[in-house]
């Protein structure tokens, strides 16, 4: 983990006594004009001391510039050791602002992305109020997404996290979230644990709070962060996220093996249905990628997947594009098998996760065909079904995790 570096002014401030109600931690360097213009308007309702922390350098004003009860403070952006990966950098910045909030003994810390899309009164209210009132330890956002948005989250991050940690959170890896004092302590503790491992890791606030039995809520927010990773190579993004997810599963294995089923997260705010996209997508390129993978990566897949799954994949590769459907149970088992192979180091981790991309594209093709003519609501039902399937297949993961040689 990258060490959180406090500027000298900030170190003095961190030692200053005095109650801090809320810390708003911007994970990166924002546009300062926008931050200074928007922050006071957004924080009008909060009477007590609020600190807005953002990544800056020593020439910036550090702690002390205040407007009413709002103080601006800069912190040195930590460098994720040996990593230039997008999510690792975000994770390092999130850990940094949580550490700052912990040092200031804040009642709550709202972490927001440096694009400041979440800096609007409604989002801040929805995310902070339940935490400040004590009804939730952690508030996660539910972003407005269309049926073709956030596909890695829908297919992998959210259902996997839900099945393992037993919390129905839509976006377990969000740019914005709010943690209360108890969650802060837990997150900073988990931060120390991951620091011992030596490798930079992503921050999974939901998992950390779920393992301590904390209350998690989620609020429907209107924030749209734009396509942060769309210009990146899909395989690189998928590799980074899947690696982080599987590492977290490895670290928390004693906890999630005991979890059965899942419990809903408290909902706040009203979900807004985004504009419908009724036009179907041409899935041929994705199916072709899957078939290409099936033809060429068999030697890799065979090291990871059991014979029954290989047989099903071969059957899928023979289907024509229109009838191509990947069953949810098959996809869930594939993800679990990759998590197991990741743990067992059956082959190089970069090869393993690279070999997941064609399978993921197969799932996307299947999903896109199924929801092609459906509304966003119906597509959400489909995603919910997938998450339930992950839960149903969890005994398969637990059994193979405990006795890896039994099935393969």
């Amino acid at each position: 983990m990258a060490k959180t570096e406090l500027l000298p002014e900030l170190q003095r401030s961190a030692r200053e006594p005095g109650p801090v109600e809320l810390v708003i931690g911007v994970t990166g360097s924002p546009e300062m004009d926008v931050l200074r213009a928007k922050a006071p308007a957004c924080l009008q309702g909060i009477g007590a001391k609020t600190i807005v922390a953002y990544a800056g350098d020593n020439r910036m004003n550090g702690y002390g510039s205040s407007e009413d009860n709002i103080h601006f403070a800069s912190y040195a952006m930590p460098h994720a050791a040996g990593s230039s990966a997008f999510w690792i950098e975000i994770g390092a910045a999130q850990r940094a602002v949580l550490a700052l909030a912990g040092a200031w003994q804040a009642r709550a810390c709202l972490v927001i992305h440096s694009d400041l899309a979440a800096l609007d009164p409604d989002t801040i209210r929805l995310l902070t109020e339940p935490v400040l009132s004590g009804s939730s330890d952690l508030m996660m956002p539910v972003y407005q997404t269309g049926k073709y948005d956030a596909l890695i989250n829908k297919s992998l991050l959210s259902p996997f996290s839900r099945a393992l940690y037993g919390r129905r959170v839509k976006f377990p890896l969000a740019f914005d979230f709010c943690a209360g004092a108890s969650a802060l302590a837990k997150l900073n503790q988990s931060d120390l644990k991951s620091a011992n491992n030596g490798e930079p890791q992503l921050l999974w606030p939901v998992n950390a709070v779920a393992t301590s039995g904390g209350q998690i809520g989620q609020a429907a927010v209107g924030t749209r962060h734009g396509a942060q990773t769309d210009s990146m190579d899909l395989s690189a993004v998928l590799t980074e996220l899947a690696a982080a997810l599987f590492k977290e599963a490895e670290a928390c294995a004693p906890f999630w093996q005991r979890v059965r089923g899942s419990q809903p997260a408290l909902r706040y705010g009203t979900s807004m249905v985004p504009t419908e996209d009724a036009q179907p997508i041409d899935c041929r390129p994705m199916v072709e990628s899957f078939v290409l993978g099936s033809r060429n990566l068999e030697e890799v897949w065979r090291l990871v997947l059991p014979p029954a799954t290989m047989l099903e994949l071969k059957r899928l590769a023979r289907l024509d594009v229109e009838s191509f459907r990947m069953p949810d149970a098959l996809w869930a088992r594939i993800v679990y098998d990759f998590a197991l192979a990741f743990r067992m180091r059956r082959l190089s981790r970069s090869h393993l996760l690279g070999a997941l991309t064609p399978l993921y594209l197969g799932w996307v093709a299947s999903y896109a065909q199924e929801v092609g003519g459906a509304t966003t609501q119906e597509a959400n039902h489909k995603v919910e079904e997938l998450a339930r399937t992950y839960e149903e297949q969890k005994p398969y993961l637990v059994s193979r995790w405990r006795w890896p040689l039994r099935v393969s």
Binding site: Y148, D149, A150, L151, I152, N153, N197, G198, E199, A227, Q228, T229, D230, D233, L234, S235, V237, L238, L241, D277, Q279, I281, D282, P285, E288, S289, L292, G293, R295, N296, L297, V300, R345, R346, L347, S348, R349, S350, H351, G354, A355, T357, P358, V364, A368
Partner: protein, 235 residues
């Protein structure tokens, strides 16, 4: 006449028997030394493995050996150290066996000759080991990357990379062993040069139309799918 022949054969047979009798203690000494060191190697390797497992060696060095694990995921640091200890003992056994052979067989210079060659054999074995692992790793990397780039000749590329590395390794091993050095250099140069020239000719002349058609197809497909991809957001 026949008596002379018989006498000559008898003399040569007795010389051969004498030679074998002279060599036999040396051979026995060599085999005994080798056997003892095989047993010692096994005992020490087992001890080292137990010790490293008790010290949780794999977990302790795990964070620092990412590259080893990437190249050879099934070989844990413990296995690698254990094997190293085992083969070191075997090597020492061979050296001591040769010395014993020389001492007890009155064959001067043999041990010195063989010992002078041992470093080359060790070096060649290391080269072969590293080259084989590297070939497999690079081939698989190429295969996964090419498939993710939607290249239809992914397997061809991966196989090409694998054999290029293996051929290079074989040439280096033979060169290191000083076996037919000039021929290997020449053959390797011709082979590599030939491959590059063949590829250049294939792309430049023979497959010019094929390549241009393929590129055109890719360009058309990219523009067609660009709109589709804009509507899909993976994160």
């Amino acid at each position: 006449m026949w008596n002379h022949i018989e006498q000559a054969l008898h003399d040569s047979m007795s010389r051969v028997a004498t030679k074998i009798a002279t060599l036999l203690p040396g051979v026995l000494a060599f085999v005994a030394a080798l056997l003892i060191f095989f047993i010692l190697a096994w005992i020490f390797a087992t001890l080292v493995r137990w010790l490293l497992m008790a010290l949780k060696f794999d977990e302790r060095v795990g964070r620092g050996t990412g590259s080893i694990a990437e190249l050879s995921p099934r070989h844990t640091p413990t296995v690698l150290v254990t094997r190293l200890v085992y083969w070191c003992f075997v090597l020492v056994g061979v050296v001591i066996g040769l010395s014993a052979f020389e001492a007890s067989s009155a064959e001067p210079g043999l041990a010195a000759y063989v010992l002078a060659y041992v470093p080359r054999i060790v070096g060649a074995a290391i080269l072969l080991f590293v080259g084989t692992i590297l070939a497999r790793f690079l081939s698989r990397s190429m295969l996964v990357t090419a498939v993710n780039l939607n290249l239809h000749y992914a397997r061809l590329l991966a196989t090409g990379v694998k054999w290029m590395v293996l051929v290079l390794t074989a040439a280096m091993v033979l060169d290191h062993l000083a076996i037919a050095g000039a021929i290997v250099d020449l053959a390797f140069g011709i082979l590599f040069g030939g491959i590059v020239l063949a590829l250049a000719l294939a792309v430049g002349l023979g497959s010019r139309d094929l390549v241009s058609r393929s590129l055109e197809r890719e360009a058309i497909k990219s523009s067609e799918t660009a709109h589709q991809e804009e509507r899909l957001h993976h994160f």
